[in-house]
Assembly symmetry: C2
Homo-oligomer: 220 residues x 2
């Protein structure tokens, strides 16, 4: 089973690693990291870089297509090769996963019309504009589409997909493998419960994300 | 504020990225990834690689020393340069963070004698052997040591440290930024509640981890 994780400049690392950490541990999975060109791809922090060891041109098919989000999505929406790669691989995939605002990329590729999905708390309206019904679940399945809410929801969405792929026994084992028995130190249990000031700050940061990452240079 | 994340061959990616995703977003943080040599460092899957853009020799001091775990810890315990780097940077740090079996590395560096810590569910006895009292909390503080349980506990430990650094308002904001309102799809709420078969499998995998990663070659 092939798991293909697409990287774009300015991704959010936990969007990727939460799902990767469970899906890559499903026995028999071959995981690949792909980007427009082989080499380093820098996260939104400009301090963390993942290595893409496949280029989009090398990809012909996959079993699980995995599209993460981050401030880099704004530019990726206008990147024809990225959008065409998503469309092309989705035609071959058994499952297509979108996390956070990576779900917008699925929309731009024309995969969301009439579908029900979840996405990052801050971009529900933008996803609706692609013809999708958007809910506020942590993860959601519609046909072969599995979508996750923001960033850390990649873990929950990943475990949910493991359950769909191989049943609850393996999902329980992988949940133990990553010791996912969360105990967030803050008491808020949904974006809507977070302090109003936090909501305003995160909305501001997300609006300014694309400009912010342009201004930050990677250290090498 | 400098955050220094140490990488060793065979790290577990979520041990790093969970904590990184909150700590690197504390305003004013300069995050650096360091390893014995600059360049790619491969995770336990041999498919994901992070880029270390500092070598241990370049590091002279830090504010937050961050030591992750993974199957690579077994070899790192016998790596004098890694252990000496931990000892040397801990002397300068305001906070030292150990996640998962990365806590063993703190023990080998002589930092745990008489301390209370948490660690990966599977290596509590090995950590006790360094003179520490080990509890089963998700995160724990003793003086300037902040330790986390396995893998995904890096998120909770990271948010806990943000709270210590800057108070609950910023921690709430960063918790919203990563939408950390977990809803694990499986019902088990502690390692001890996981099915016995899962516990046996994970114990087996963790014992065989160092051998398994030796047998897997990175794709490049």
């Amino acid at each position: 089973m092939r798991l293909t994780i697409l990287l774009m400049d300015g991704f959010t690392a936990l969007d990727i690693v939460g799902g990767y950490e469970v899906l890559a541990n499903v026995p028999g999975t071959e995981t690949e990291f792909a980007a427009q060109a082989q080499g380093l791809v820098w996260a939104d922090s400009r301090r963390l870089a993942l290595h893409a060891w496949r280029s989009f041109a090398e990809l012909s098919s996959t079993d699980i297509l995995y599209v993460p989000g981050g401030p880099g999505v704004a530019a990726a929406l206008n990147d024809n090769e990225m959008i065409e790669t998503i469309r092309r691989l989705h035609e071959t995939s058994t499952w297509t996963v979108g996390i956070c605002n990576g779900v917008e990329l699925l929309g731009r590729a024309g995969l969301l019309d009439g579908k029900q999905v979840t996405t990052n708390w801050g971009c529900r309206d933008r996803v609706r504009a692609y013809g999708a019904a958007v809910n506020s679940q942590r993860f959601h399945r519609d046909g072969k589409l599995v979508t996750g809410a923001g960033v850390s929801a990649s873990i929950d969405a990943g475990l949910f997909l493991v359950q769909l792929l191989r049943g609850p026994e393996l999902a329980a084992t992988l949940q133990l493998g990553i010791e996912y028995y969360p105990a967030p130190p803050l008491p808020y249990r949904s974006p809507e419960e977070a302090p109003a000031q936090s909501q305003a700050l995160i909305r501001h940061n997300e609006q300014n994300g694309p400009r912010r990452i342009k201004a930050l240079r990677p250290p090498v």
